[in-house]
């Protein structure tokens, strides 16, 4: 019974992530519009764009090889697999035993590398610019991510980086309030902004080619492949929101075998976390300007240092305890 419920929860979770991802991205866009005094496009606008793109005829550059054609599928598969691993409304889904945080980072990096290769494939300058910048940013984001992981594994004595096990322990408030946790949250927020290509690292609404990162990489795509890449980008944003929400505010999360009645609290909690984080992101994006590209490593370097500081704090406090 519980395995069946776990599977149903997993399928529902994946479908919900897919369905909600463009809406979350649209929500940020709508809120930003409101904050700037515009009416703003409706939150479901990204869905309309994705459907419209998927109906168009795909046009490929003459020089494109199989890498360019297959990359959107790989990017989407990696992002969807990563999104399927992050618990949104219920714990102990079928994927719980393999929902490892390092695997999650690996899947995101697989998507990133596939997109960067596709960007290099056509042989235009913009693709190269985007690919080179994106890969450089990742070199700063990943150490910060691993240091944050150190905090969780060490503080919880969990001896695991399994997201489900961590979320379950955090849900039981095994961690308490700590300085390290706050620093880790700040660091992880910086990493999330960089990885999902949001301001101040990258402007998703940019029309200036030389300042683009993610948009420069997808510049040569059109039609259904572009729809797939847009959907993946939305999914990446929702994934980070869900991940941060699950790690730092796991209220409402119940086990998957609690059944639909139990899932409702989890769903409400998840929706609340996503809306709050979207609002925060919209506020941040409408108050900040995009950084120069070479300021981004400094920004992410601060994230690494914060995480390192948090780790040392933690070791010191555990040493006294």
């Amino acid at each position: 019974m519980s395995t069946a419920l776990g599977f149903v929860a997993f399928v529902l979770h994946t479908a919900l992530m897919l369905a909600a991802a463009p809406v979350a991205a649209g929500l940020v866009r709508w809120l930003k519009g409101r904050l700037l005094g515009r009416a703003g496009p409706p939150p479901w606008q990204p869905w309309l764009e994705i459907v419209r793109l998927s109906r168009k005829q795909p046009v490929f550059a003459e020089n494109a090889s199989f890498v360019f054609r297959w990359a959107p599928g790989v990017v989407f598969a990696a992002t969807l697999a990563a999104a399927a691993l992050v618990p949104s409304f219920a714990l102990h889904m079928t994927t719980a035993p393999i929902a490892d945080l390092i695997v999650l980072a690996g899947l995101l990096s697989l998507g990133r590398a596939a997109l960067a290769l596709a960007a290099m494939d056509v042989g235009t300058a913009f693709g190269g610019i985007g690919a080179s910048r994106e890969m450089t940013f990742a070199a700063y984001a990943e150490p910060a991510l691993v240091l944050v992981l150190t905090i969780f594994t060490f503080a919880l004595l969990a001896s695991t980086t399994n997201l489900d096990a961590l979320a379950a322990q955090l849900h039981d408030f095994a961690f308490g309030l700590r300085v390290s946790l706050g620093l880790a949250l700040l660091s992880l927020l910086g990493v999330a902004l960089a990885d999902s290509g949001r301001l101040p690292v990258d402007n998703p609404a940019s029309h200036l080619e030389l300042a683009m990162v993610h948009e420069a990489m997808v510049l040569e795509y059109s039609g259904p492949p572009l729809a797939l890449l847009e959907l993946s980008a939305c999914l990446r944003l929702l994934l980070w929101m869900t991940l941060i929400g699950t790690l730092f505010a796991p209220f409402g999360l119940g086990p998957a075998d609690a059944g639909p009645a139990g899932w409702l609290a989890g769903l409400l909690g998840w929706a609340f976390r996503v809306v709050v984080l979207s609002a925060a992101l919209a506020l941040l994006e409408s108050t900040l300007a995009k950084m120069r590209v070479f300021r981004v490593p400094e920004f992410l370097g601060v994230a690494v240092l914060l995480a390192l500081l948090a780790v040392v704090f933690l070791f010191v406090s555990q040493g006294f305890a």
């Binding site: 990696a78 969807l80 929902a99 490892d100 590398a113 056509v122 190269g128 910060a144 691993v146 399994n162």
Partner: protein, 666 residues
């Protein structure tokens, strides 16, 4: 049964050496001889896999009064499988003989393999050193195959110097180890481990000696010079297999021969040097323009990762945390197998690209995917493993390594904890930068448009090379999807050396028996399902694709005299590395000199960028200066008068005998 298999293995090794001699006298039959050697290596790998560790035989040769002992023990078995497997692939590729340097290298290639296998099979100190040093000499000859190039000669000289240094350190380390023991066999040396300052001396000398051969910072400088100039199969084996033999010697001495009561701090030097190698190696891999040099630098990175695993395992064993030690050592040994496989693949692929395009420089390659789709596909498979992308083989081992680094703070002590946390962060940095290096190698070297006309005429390599590439890609994918099966090969070594095993089934690896872990096949299934989903949704309205000129924000089509477009409008090797070099370049002592053009001036603006490996000014330049001063000081001895020369020749033995007499009397 096992003793018979061991004797057969010894015969395989002898036959490989004999084949090398045959190649020297039959230069026209090289392809056939290499094919036979590849078959022998394949048979050797199969026998090693079939044999059970434990048997031992004594050969009737060796030092006066002492036999050389051969044995297949739990630690040498995975290394031997790797050496034989990688050599089978490399020798298969070597049957495609191109130029005079391949003919010159031909006799040494099977001998090189035989020496590596002999060093791994040896069960006493003399046999180990004999095989190891013979391996160094054989690989030196391979580096010198293109001896008409000054670059190759310089690299060979540097390599020989490093090999001599490594030999000096290792001979002294082994002598110190053998001092308390009645004979030179590992079994008796194990019974008499060194202690105190002797043990620390052995640790230092073994790390220097084996580290110099494996490419551990700061003794890694020869790798990016020597590996690229050797013929492709030779450089594949040097990077894929030979560095692993050096790591085997390190593991043999530190984990086995020094006994199992080593203190916690023994892990520290290896973790520090490993982290430094990983960082410096991967940074150079991002910056190098030469494809094979970039791959050699990434070997430095991977050797660093393996050294971190060794260090963590030593520290954990010292703290009596057997499961953690097993996890770290298991990660290191799995990475040995994974890296040995995919690095052989990448070097063979780079050799194919070099042969097809006539250059190894990334800034002159490009667009090979259209003419060499099979090679490009295999290179992408190898690079995915190098970049540690799931579900590849590199990810499985780096997952275990990160897990052990994350659990290592449990060993205790604030300084050690901070060190291990930093090591974990540096492992992540190395993985991310390795991904950057891989995207650069594939994206600049193989995708995009050709940068020189020669590249446009590239062709797929000959059938044996393609077969080797595909076989190695399949093997890499297998290790990635079933790391649990590969860990079974390693598990006996872990139980033997650190007294713990790995919690892994064939489909699942975990940090402990009751914790969740990493299931590569499940991740693979999730990925396949994710990739199938859009295909299913979009299948119903499958539209005709259309080809059009690249958009590039409305960039004008290139003129007819530039059939592949203007090469300068494509992102190149240096431009791709520019963000990394600007932000992390201080570590590599990067220099930039820009000469802007004045407005209206017809002189072009110039930006000259270069970098220096920090080990060169810190270590190699001063050492070179001291060597020069010493040699010019000793030069004077050559120009003495007859009288003085004769008195010197009398004085030296006299002093020597006096010293012995005094020491005896003491």
């Amino acid at each position: 049964m096992s003793a018979v298999l061991l004797l057969i293995l010894a015969c395989v090794v002898a036959a490989l050496a004999a084949l090398g001699l045959c190649a020297a006298v039959l230069p026209r039959r090289i392809a056939l001889l290499h094919a036979v050697a590849a078959g022998l290596c394949g048979a050797g790998a199969a026998i090693t896999l079939a044999g059970t560790p434990g048997a031992s035989v004594a050969l009737p040769v060796g030092l006066p009064g002492m036999a050389i002992h051969l044995a297949l023990d739990p630690l040498s078995r995975p290394f031997l499988v790797l050496v034989f497997g990688a050599s089978a692939a490399a020798l298969t590729a070597a049957t495609d003989v191109h130029g005079p340097e391949d003919v010159r290298a031909a006799p040494f290639l099977p001998v090189f393999v035989a020496c590596m296998a002999f060093a791994l099979l040896a069960a006493d100190a003399f046999g180990l050193l004999l095989g190891f040093e013979a391996m160094s000499v054989a690989s030196w000859a391979l580096v010198l195959a293109r001896h008409a190039d000054a670059e190759a000669r310089d690299a060979a000289a540097l390599y020989l110097g490093m090999a001599a240094f490594s030999a000096a350190c290792l001979v002294i380390a082994v002598a110190m180890l053998a001092m308390p023991s009645p004979d030179l066999t590992f079994a008796s040396m194990r019974q008499h481990p060194p202690d105190g300052a002797w043990a620390a001396g052995v640790l230092g000398l073994a790390t220097l000696g084996a580290g110099a051969k494996a490419g551990l910072f700061p003794l890694h400088v020869w790798l990016p010079r020597a590996h690229p100039v050797a013929p492709a199969p030779a450089s594949a084996l040097m990077s894929g297999a030979m560095t692993k033999v050096a790591l085997y010697v390190l593991a043999r001495i530190l984990f086995d021969l020094c006994g199992d009561a080593t203190p916690v701090w023994w892990g520290v030097p290896l973790v520090v040097l490993g982290a430094a190698s990983a960082t410096i190696g991967v940074l150079r891999a991002v910056l190098e323009d030469d494809l094979k040099a970039a791959l050699a630098c990434s070997t430095v990175e991977n050797v660093g990762l393996i050294a971190i695993g060794f260090g963590l395992a030593l520290a954990a064993r010292g703290a009596d945390l057997a499961p953690l030690a097993a996890l770290a050592l298991g990660a290191a040994l799995l990475h040995v197998l994974a890296h040995g496989t995919f690095k052989t693949l990448l070097f063979l692929g780079a050799g194919a690209a070099d042969h097809a395009a006539g250059t190894r420089l990334l800034s002159r390659l490009g667009g090979l995917v259209h003419h060499m789709p099979v090679t490009t596909g295999c290179m992408i498979a190898g690079c995915a493993a190098l970049a540690a992308l799931p579900p590849s083989s590199g990810f499985a081992s780096e997952w275990m390594l990160l897990q052990s680094a994350l659990a290592a703070p449990r060993i205790g002590g604030l300084a050690l904890q901070t060190l291990f946390a930093c090591a974990a962060a540096l492992i992540a940095l190395a993985a991310a930068l390795a991904a950057t290096a891989c995207v650069r190698i594939i994206g600049v070297g193989f995708l995009g448009r050709p940068r020189v006309p020669r590249t446009a005429g590239a062709q797929e390599p000959a059938l044996p090379v393609r077969a080797a590439l595909i076989a190695l890609s399949v093997l890499t994918a297998f290790i990635g999807l079933f790391p649990g099966l590969v860990l079974r090969l390693i598990d006996p070594a872990l139980r033997h050396l650190v007294g713990g095993g790995i919690a892994a089934t064939s489909l699942f690896i975990a940090t402990s028996h009751d914790s969740p872990g990493y299931a590569p096949l499940a991740i693979g299934v999730l990925l396949a399902a994710g990739a199938a989903l859009p295909l299913l949704v979009l299948r119903r309205r499958r539209m005709q694709e259309r080809d059009a000129p690249a958009w590039a924000c409305g960039f004008a089509a290139s003129p007819p005299w530039l059939p592949f477009g203007d090469p300068a409008t494509q992102y190149g090797a240096a431009s791709f590395a520019q963000p990394v070099r600007r932000t992390l370049g201080t570590l590599m002592l990067a220099t930039e000199q820009s000469t802007p053009a004045d407005p209206g001036s017809p002189v072009p603006a110039r930006l000259v960028a270069g970098f220096t490996d920090p080990a060169e000014p810190l270590l190699f330049v001063p050492v070179g200066r001291v060597r020069l001063r010493l040699s010019s000081a000793f030069d004077r001895l050559q120009f003495l008068t007859v009288r003085r020369t004769l008195s010197l020749m009398f004085a030296v033995p006299l002093l020597f005998l006096t010293a012995i007499a005094v020491l005896e009397a003491l």
